[in-house]
Amino acid sequence: MVRARDLFATVMLSGIYGLLSASFFILMDAADVAFTEAAVGAGIFPLLMLTVLTSVGRYEAERRRVRYLPLFVMVVLAGALFAAVLQMPPFGAVDAPSHGHVAQRYIQDSPAEIGIPNMVTSVLASYRGFDTLGEVVVIFTAAVGVVVILLGGRPKTPQQSTQALMAEHKVLRVVGKMLIPLILLFGLYVQFHGEYGPGGGFQAGVIFAVGIILYAMLFGLSNAQRVVPLGVLRWLVALGVLIYGSVGLANLVVGGEYLNYSMLASDPVTGQHIGIILIELGVGITVASAMVLIFFAFTRATRSRDELEE
């Protein structure tokens, strides 16, 4: 991948790279992470890169000669790292310190305290709920940043309807019509299934976004924006973060610490359930609308540039 001059091939290979790393995660018993890495690393990332490549041009300028300074620095860094890494606890060691201490608590107590089988979601939403709030805010910042950089502040929904390039792909459109409801349904399933199996707010958000992006790709940006206008998206992005934050504040008002859901209901475990479902909803809404907003901004930016040219 380092050698390939053609950017397009690099993007495809990075797609495969995303899939490979995701399947590696599966072998490492990390279902949720594989889920997310597949959806992001092999799904959204190449998608965004391709939209960028349409206007940036496929071919790199010229083959760069191998630059020796970075190479030398890299070799030294690799050597130092090898030495350090050898002292790590061996791979998969049961007694390694990282498994003891804190993690044992999560494995033993989380089913009892929070009552959901998927420990990753329980740690994600409840034990370290504040990290996830930070994560949601990161997505929110990226969406606002992209909109500001590309669309210059207030996104306007385009009036004229640009005829989608994929018009002549009748077959794709028919299949698309059949598939998109299925995808959105699957997104909902993943959203509310987060406690019992791999899944959760973030992954569901990405699936929703992929469904809408597929619709936009097949039926053209303008009709997609009639379905999901940009103004509404801005509200949704903000709404998701506010849901998350206000659930935290609600716990504050009821008397517990920030993001302590056990106060929400009479019995702590049901309180946790309510809290986690609400949190996942907030995450799902923000992520879905942020991804769609970013994708619309990218396509509008590449498209509007061409209208100027033609």
Binding site: M1, F24, R67, A78, P89
Partner: protein, 115 residues
């Protein structure tokens, strides 16, 4: 030595990713290098989480030994952070392409010097 393969792969990927970011001129190529670098860190975290013989951290009556859920939670957040930075960087690349007309680092630098 045998059970250190994971970490060696991580180190190799990390170094390759950094090399791409430093040596390549094309801005888009740099981002791909950055992506490789970040993914190698994720692989590192997950390989510390694996408990040999343990199954995925989803409670099923059968299993009793589970892999460690904590690094997986950290990685979920790190992936989100990675894609957020990437989308911001790509937005910048688009605007740079529109402003400078090219995405090559040296072309941009001498355009800066000239004006």
């Amino acid at each position: 030595m045998a059970d250190y393969y994971n970490y060696l792969i991580v180190v190799l990927l990390m170094v390759m990713g950094l090399y791409i970011v430093m040596a390549q001129g094309n801005l888009v190529k740099k981002l791909i290098g950055l992506n490789i670098f970040q993914t190698s860190v994720f692989i590192f975290y997950i390989s510390t989480a694996k408990v040999s013989g343990g199954t995925a951290p989803i409670v099923i009556d059968g299993a009793e030994l589970y892999s460690n859920p904590l690094p997986q939670v950290l990685i979920l957040t790190a992936i989100v952070v990675g894609i957020a930075t990437m989308s911001l960087a790509l937005a910048l690349v688009l605007r740079i392409k529109r402003a400078y007309g090219s995405v090559e680092e040296d072309v941009i630098l001498e355009q800066d010097k000239s004006c």
